[in-house]
Point group: C2
Chain length 486, copies 2
């Protein structure tokens, strides 16, 4: 390891290699109990260029050093920057923070992995481009890292993995691959056309340890003439099913084009909604004013069939949407913020942390009420507050349960971890899989993906061994281990 | 080979193995000159179940026999069912023709690869589901095969590879993989949620020879309340650029949600448009009547800035859209037909055939006029009629040039092939890559994807060797060759 550290410093410069106790502590899981000695790195390297990333993987191969890559490392509810295997060398891509291009005409950007949502938002605004980005709840994360982890935002482009177009990837052997149309040098369509000639590997580099993404295209939406963030409130516990069934056709036919969020009273609080009902949903409409007006009428008509439901919204001109309004109005317009962290601190204290438990179910009353009922009963049994945020797509729903705790309180922290473990197998038994998982549960979650005696695992292992025979890249990520570590 | 044929007949039944001269002739490239002795299979096997597909690959491995898979084999402008390597055994999936599920509530279907667009359309209509499918110009092809080849339709779901959700794949080693949420046995979200846990391999099985897809989910659109197929006509050659620049914002903001098609006078003829202009575009709107009305006004306003442009459309109730109207009105409503084949016969005679040359460019006036100008001048020089169909997406345009010829006229057929070869390198030099290619040009097209000294090829070869060490699956497809055939 010492020889590897020396080689990293030689290739990247001594200031690009961190090994102090304090630096390593800062790269641990931020929401773990401090006394638990797990997921600790042995060094952090900070390449600034693609060539330096290539040098890092070559050195790692030569010295059989395990790496763990992160873009910004703000994947906090799932482990932050911490490595699955203690002793790994962290590859921080924070220095690769250039917005390489913003194209207003074709509505895309090309970014490096260190670019935060705040940075991309600023890059677009500072030159006056009439484009909106899509952001998750917290704006300090990496645009690339979030998409690679299948992350979600709340505009019509909120499925971040799908809004990706074109990647550059450093493979474990140091080779540099460009995907899609970027596989042609001099291509004019790398960021505008989704696939190239032959198979498309983009999905392989998401939630995986098959390569290090060093550039990514991201599609942006044109600033609409009119923006209308809206809300729906229903009174009773039993109204969740009817709410979901009324929402589905509106999403399927595009009347509501974005990713609505449904929450209980605490969720409404997080969304800064006044006068919450038992269940509360935010959504948004975008477009020419006449279209938005017509769509709002259809939304009203659909939900008015639920007794006691109320529907409303605030109309903005597109160019003023970013300026003000509550958090929900900003986030659905792609304006990055930090509001949610305040909420975690409010509920978990100064040292508040959270795990997010995130299974997916079909967007039907039957499935949503079954999943919520199952999770509530288990949360109650473990003494953990059940206050989910439900992110809706036309056919599926991502059920995010933030389990908030005081990270200085070992018993409280442990309760959340214990509930998480129980939930993984219980929701799988009911047919619901997680879309993402915390470091500690990656193996357990992967274990649930068991079709044909774990064909997915066998397939992933074949690819891992072919692309990374020494197993240097992020061993254990999403439950994928190279030959030497199985 | 004889031993393999016997083993296939043993596993599948003798009627599932075809070796007669006549059967093999029927599986050649339908649009090749009959005297050219290329791309000829040595046998055809017809598995009817997943288990039989597994048996086929196991036998092929044992006997080192090369396979070439097709779903319906109607990929006619690109080679039909014919194999890249003469002597291959064709795996025809036409007997696997079950529509396994149509879910009206969540708007999807699960189909086997032998299901044709006609079959899926009929399966949806026969039970009265209010769902529309998306179809390419000709309805006899496979829903799965078309999506796997990155094919296009003309509804809002017209990017068929993107409308796919969840696959089952038989790998070269006989293993059966399910992708996405289907990797969990008992999953309730296989066809409703795009990605599972870990990397997503779906894109790997498109335009590739890494596996045989035996089931695929496909998203369907809800039947709209109102359907308005529309048209835009402009007068002058130079109006193409302004047409494209006026269209782009309407696609980017979703005002026009489908895949518009632009053509010259001959293209307008194919679209059954009356009174064509120099350039003609069809598009369609779908939704509640008030929304469609508002959108049509925005479309009119956008194109009215082009002097001499005219805009129109026909409003249908959603439930009558399938009934009648010209071909363009039907195909944009997902009603399968065979009209385009008539056109090929009209222009190429009884034995008319065509090659489709299909590069992709950004959806800007500059790029579209540059690409069209380049292709027209080369087509003129080779004496081939230049009459393209341009399929528009929000950021890119697929330029399909059908080169129509009489397949009994060797000189005429050869002219099209010669032009195709010249065009491949000329458009690549200008930065435009093909999204699909005819058998004869797969290597040449792949050669153009040359970034970093052909990193894509190296990457594809690593995967090929890992997943299919004997190189039995479709050698040469999209220019990918296994170790034994490189």
């Amino acid at each position: 390891m010492n020889a590897a550290i020396a080689a990293f410093a030689d290739a990247l410069g001594p200031d690009a290699v961190l090994t102090s106790e304090r630096d390593l502590r800062e790269h641990r899981d931020p929401y773990s109990y401090a006394g638990w000695d797990e997921f600790t790195a042995s060094a952090v390297v900070l390449p600034a260029t693609v060539e330096q990333v290539q040098a890092v993987v070559r050195i790692a191969n030569a010295h059989r050093v395990r790496l763990w890559t992160f873009s910004q490392g703000r994947n906090n509810a799932y482990g932050g920057p911490a490595p699955r295997v203690s002793g790994s060398v962290l590859v921080s891509l924070r220095r690769m923070n250039r917005v390489l291009e913003v194209n207003e005409e074709l509505a895309y950007a090309l970014v490096e992995p260190g670019v935060r949502f705040f940075d991309l938002h600023e890059a677009v605004r500072s030159v006056g481009h009439k484009l909106w980005i899509s952001v998750p709840d917290v704006g300090w994360g990496s645009v690339v890292g979030n998409a690679l982890d299948h992350g979600w935002g709340f505009t019509p482009y909120g499925d971040h993995a799908t809004s990706q177009c074109g990647m550059e990837v450093v493979l474990a052997n140091g080779d540099v691959l460009r995907t899609g149309m970027g596989a042609m040098s001099g291509s004019r369509t790398w960021q505008v056309h989704r696939r190239g000639f032959g198979p498309s590997p983009d999905g392989l580099f998401m939630q995986s340890n098959f390569g290090i993404v060093t550039k990514m295209g991201v599609w942006l939406m044109p600033q609409p003439e009119c923006y209308l963030p809206g809300w729906v409130r229903v009174r009773d516990e039993a109204d969740l099913g009817p709410l979901v069934d009324a929402l589905r056709p509106l999403l399927l036919d595009g009347t509501i084009p974005n990713k609505p969020l449904i929450g209980g009273p605490a969720g409404a609080n997080a969304m800064e909604m006044a006068d919450p009902g038992r269940w509360n949903m935010r959504f948004a409409l975008y477009g020419p004013e006449a279209v938005v007006d017509a769509q709002l009428e259809d939304v009203r008509a659909a939900f008015s069939r639920i007794p006691g439901a109320t529907v409303g919204g605030t109309k903005y001109a597109g160019d003023e949407a970013a300026a003000a309004g509550p958090a929900g109005d900003r986030v659905q317009a792609g304006v990055p913020g930090m509001d949610i962290l305040e909420l975690v601190r409010r509920r978990g204290g100064e040292h508040g942390g959270h795990l997010d438990f995130s299974p997916v179910c079909p967007l039907t009353a039957r499935d949503v009420t079954a999943l919520c009922g199952l999770m509530r009963s288990l949360a109650d049994r473990h003494g953990v507050a059940y206050s989910p945020g439900l992110i809706a797509s036309p056919r599926s729903l991502v059920h995010v349960l933030p389990m908030i705790f005081d990270t200085t309180d070992e018993a409280e922290t442990r309760r959340a971890y214990e509930l998480y473990e129980v939930l993984v197998t219980e929701v799988a038994r009911a047919g619901y899989g997680l879309y993402r998982a915390h470091l500690r549960f990656m193996d357990l979650v992967a274990e649930q993906y068991d079709f044909n005696d774990h064909a997915q695992r066998r397939f992933n292992q074949s690819l891992k061994d072919a692309l990374d025979p020494n197993g240097i890249l992020s061993p254990g990520k999403q439950g994928i281990w190279g030959r030497s570590t199985r």
